[in-house]
């Protein structure tokens, strides 16, 4: 104890504010390191040289016009869900229920297509779908929100559970509306009449989705940063006591924000069912509700940066999918790589927020 040589080798302290470009440089460095690590691992597994691996990753996203469109569509959908969770996150309300909220939105859309498709004209069905999906998503988010606002029920756990209730509800209707009978799946809805199918812009199947999400993205950025509601969300997120002190009705803001969050999730479900797939399955949201948490967090809850982070995630996913098929690996290899890259980026945040002092050398590192 009294031995001087036992002075700690290093100790950690909180950093002052790092200029944004330095912070992003650290993140970029982490990403680069992650890519190198992924390349090395893939090379080891496949025995290919790393250059080929990277070429395959890029090819997976940009190899053909179709691949680019799929890439953009996937970015748009992931971005949409990420935008949805962001207002809640800014309020420090951990909405992990985006998966379920989007699914319920999709269910509402499918219900309109199936139940109203024979009686109403196409435009009326689409209008009903829009209203129903947004409302359903909002409702699914409002349930935990009300309990959070009134009784401070833990929203992380509540929304998480709501996902599976939604999944089972969809599974139920998948059987109820199965087509053909006995398949247990819904199949393409209204395949001949195409009622409830969203219009295509020209020959671009995915363009409508991409445009809608782009508009939502800009709108969300403006809403969060320049509107009175956005300001209220920020105040509630930082300090509920301050919010009450200036007369902000915290419970109302929580419910309102979660309604918005759920409605945008519902929109994602609507686009997936009405525009992309024209069908409904329990896995139609494809884990985006969870990936969105990471996308939003990586972008520091900034909608514009989220375009970049969702691109990153989708690009990696599609790239590693390409590796998998090209080199005869299982598609899940992509998940491993995505996980690895996330670990690097998550770890890099430490070097943005903290610095390490080494005792002996007296030097600093960050």
């Amino acid at each position: 104890m009294n031995n001087k040589t036992r002075t700690p080798l290093f100790h950690v302290s909180k950093r002052g504010l790092l200029p944004w470009y330095k912070a992003w440089a650290i993140r970029a460095a982490a990403l680069l390191l992650a890519l190198v690590a992924c390349g090395v691992i893939t090379s080891l597994v496949t025995g290919q040289n790393p250059i080929q691996v990277y070429a395959a990753i890029i090819n997976g996203s940009f190899g053909s016009p179709r691949k680019i469109w799929v890439l953009l569509q996937n970015i748009a959908m992931l971005l949409c869900v990420s935008l949805a969770v962001t207002p809640a996150f800014r309020m420090r309300c951990w909405n992990l229920g985006a998966e379920g909220q989007a699914l319920i939105g999709g269910l509402a859309a499918a219900a309109c297509m199936i139940l109203l498709g024979k009686t109403l004209p196409n435009w009326a069905v689409i209008a009903c779908m829009c209203v129903a999906s947004l409302a359903a998503g909002a409702l699914w988010a409002a349930i935990p929100a009300v309990f959070k606002a009134r009784w401070n029920t833990n929203e992380t756990l509540f929304t998480l559970m709501m996902n599976y209730v939604a999944t089972q509800l969809v599974a139920y209707y998948c059987v109820v509306w199965e087509s053909p009978k006995g398949s247990g799946t819904i199949g393409v809805i209204n395949p001949s009449t195409e009622i409830g199918w969203f219009p295509q812009i020209g020959s671009y199947k995915y363009l409508l989705n991409i445009l809608i999400v782009a508009i939502v993205c800009v709108a969300m950025y403006i809403y969060l940063n320049y509107s009175k509601h956005g300001y209220e969300i920020a105040v509630v997120g930082e300090s509920e006591r301050t919010a009450r002190y200036v007369g902000i009705k915290v419970d109302r803001v929580i419910i309102r924000t979660m309604l918005l969050s759920g409605a945008v999730c519902g929109l994602a479900g609507l686009l997936l069912v009405g525009s992309t797939n024209h069908t409904l399955t329990t896995t139609i949201v494809d884990g985006r509700g969870f990936t969105a948490v990471m996308v939003s967090w990586l972008a520091k809850f900034n909608p514009i940066w989220m375009i970049l982070t969702s691109f990153l995630i989708v690009f990696l996913g599609r790239g590693s999918g390409e590796i998998a098929t090209k080199f005869g690996l299982n598609r899940s290899f992509g998940d491993i790589l995505t996980g690895l890259i996330l670990f690097f980026i998550i770890g890099s945040e430490f070097f943005i927020n903290y610095q390490i002092h080494f005792r002996k050398s007296g030097g600093k590192e960050g």
């Binding site: 104890m1 009294n2 001087k4 036992r6 002075t7 700690p8 100790h11 302290s13 909180k14 950093r15 002052g16 504010l17 320049y226 509107s227 009175k228 509601h229 956005g230 300001y231 209220e232 920020a234 105040v235 930082e238 300090s239 006591r241 301050t242 009450r244 002190y245 200036v246 007369g247 902000i248 009705k249 002092h357």
Partner: protein
């Protein structure tokens, strides 16, 4: 005394938090059989220095030795092993555990709560404390919690005790009891450090006093050889006149009339009991009382933040019309056209948003103005610039998050914003707590200016000297009841002190 080996020797201790230098090459000696008062204003680095001794922080530079041996204190556990025990200002207790569980927390060996309870009772009997070892902490009062803290340190057999502002939450009777215990421990040859900024405690209790200012060690001396004036000079750096300006009220008229106000906390504890008073325009009404006697509830009731059990709070307008404030939230009060400003005790947790910049904090009061769904950012930014300039706020700019400012500058930002809305009622809670002398006077001036403008000021303070010099009338609270209302001019400190501890004062006991 110089021949003795110090129990603790701290040399050249430096600690920084980001850009803030909390301790700058501090030297300090602590001896056994002695009570050392570590004196300094809030923010002078006393607590930080002692936290390094108790292993909470690790110094950036400097050496510590215990009984002449160099040591490295990396963790609180290291500190315990060296016999150092600290009682923190914010209690380090786990709410859902019992007193006994808290006391034995961190100790090695088999868990035997029965034996622990027995030993706790023995300690309690020896010093005259009362602790139920089975009671959960969340069921306890503040002073009970402090007792648990002290028992915890004694249980560990610490012989170097550090107490961080232990009297802040105690009644005078409890304080006397505590001091007696501390003296016993000193006679037991323990080394005791008490962190304080109250001069009379230094004089009443300590054998030696060490003074810190702005993170630097200024000097130490035996308490007997010094006096309050000298210590104050060392604390603040230059001689200060304690004269606070007190202009005569101009045309006072009733503005806030409180009748029979009764408030219960969520746990059902009576916080305010049948409180009645009137606050006049153009006058400062001081509120005195031991902390936790209902001051917070009183202000928050008027501000519309506290549910009220019964009673009435009326706002009297300039035209003599009366409006009931009870049952209205801050927004409703604002919409009624009542311009009410409130400087709460918890500046960064309630009055301001710590992570937002100055401009966005100015917006807290005004962001609703206008019909647009978008916020107006220009006006608050201009207000921020004005406040920075007029009140000499030291800040790199108005885009700096307020948590990066020092305590005094934070308070200037808060007060600056609150008076910017031209209030007719100004509520302030501990407006100068933790501020240096100069900042305090800036705040007194601002408050007096409001008074001259005809604002009804309600000033909750903890320093009786200030209350006696600043307030026109003083309302004394004792256990949630009005103990008395006395004119500020000519009031005796002793009388007010008695009223704080006993209903009605009852000076001739």
């Amino acid at each position: 005394m110089d021949n003795k080996t110090p129990a603790v020797k701290m040399r050249n201790i430096t600690k920084t938090f980001g850009p803030v230098v909390a301790n700058d090459k501090v030297w300090l000696d602590i001896y056994r059989g002695e009570i050392l008062a570590l004196l300094g204003e809030n923010g002078s680095g006393k607590t930080t220095l002692m936290n390094m001794l108790s292993g909470i922080y690790f110094p950036d530079e400097g050496e510590i030795s215990i009984d002449g041996k160099d040591v490295v204190i990396r963790s609180p556990k290291d500190a315990f092993d060296l016999g150092i025990g600290m009682i923190h200002q914010h209690f380090k207790l786990v709410d859902v555990l019992t007193a006994a569980e808290n006391v034995v927390l961190g100790l090695p060996g088999k868990l035997d709560l029965k034996a622990a309870a027995k030993k706790i009772r023995e300690i309690c009997d020896a010093y005259g404390f009362e602790v139920d070892p089975e009671q959960k902490i969340y069921d306890m009062s503040v002073s009970q919690k402090q007792t648990v803290e002290i028992v915890k340190v004694l249980y560990r057999g610490a012989d170097i005790l550090i107490l961080d502002e232990p009297t802040a939450v105690l009644t005078p009777q409890e304080t006397d009891k505590l001091f007696a215990v501390l003296r016993n421990m000193r006679d037991d040859n323990k080394a005791i450090v008490i962190i304080t900024h109250k001069m009379h405690e230094v004089e009443a209790l300590s054998d030696r006093v060490a003074v810190l200012r702005h993170g630097q060690f200024i000097g130490d001396m035996p308490t007997k050889t010094t006096n309050a004036q000298e210590m104050t000079n060392m604390m603040v750096g230059h001689a200060v006149t304690l004269n606070i300006d007190r202009p005569e009220p101009v045309d006072p008229k009733p503005r806030i009339v409180v009748k029979g106000l009764t408030v219960r906390s969520i746990d059902g504890i009576l916080k305010l009991d049948d409180v009645s008073f009137t606050a006049n325009s153009g006058e400062i009404l001081g509120i005195a009382g031991i902390s936790g006697c209902g001051q917070k509830e009183l202000l928050e009731s008027i501000a519309g933040l506290q549910p009220v059990e019964k009673g009435s709070i009326e706002y009297i307008g300039d035209d003599g019309s009366a409006e009931q404030l009870i049952g209205k939230d801050p927004l409703a009060i604002q919409r009624m056209g009542v311009s009410l400003s409130f400087v709460p005790e918890d500046r960064l947790g309630m009055g301001l948003v710590a992570n937002m910049d100055l401009g966005d904090n100015m917006m807290l009061r005004s962001f609703r103005s206008g019909r647009s769904v978008f916020t107006d950012r220009k006006t608050p930014r201009q207000l921020a610039l004005d406040v920075v300039e007029e009140l000499d706020v030291v800040t790199p700019g108005i885009t700096t998050p307020v948590r990066r400012l020092s305590g005094g500058n934070v308070q200037k930002v808060l007060v600056g914003r609150e008076i910017a809305s031209a209030p007719t009622v100004l509520l302030t809670a501990y407006a100068v707590r933790g501020l240096d002398i100069n900042s305090s006077y800036t705040i007194y001036d601002l408050i007096n200016k409001q008074k001259k403008n005809g604002v009804a000021v309600i000033y909750v303070g903890e320093d009786l000297d200030v209350l006696l010099e600043l307030a026109d009338r003083i309302l004394v609270l004792c256990g949630g009841k009005v103990s008395g209302i006395v004119p500020g001019r000519g009031a005796k400190k002793r009388d007010v002190g008695m009223m704080m501890t006993k209903l009605g004062g009852n000076a001739h006991e």
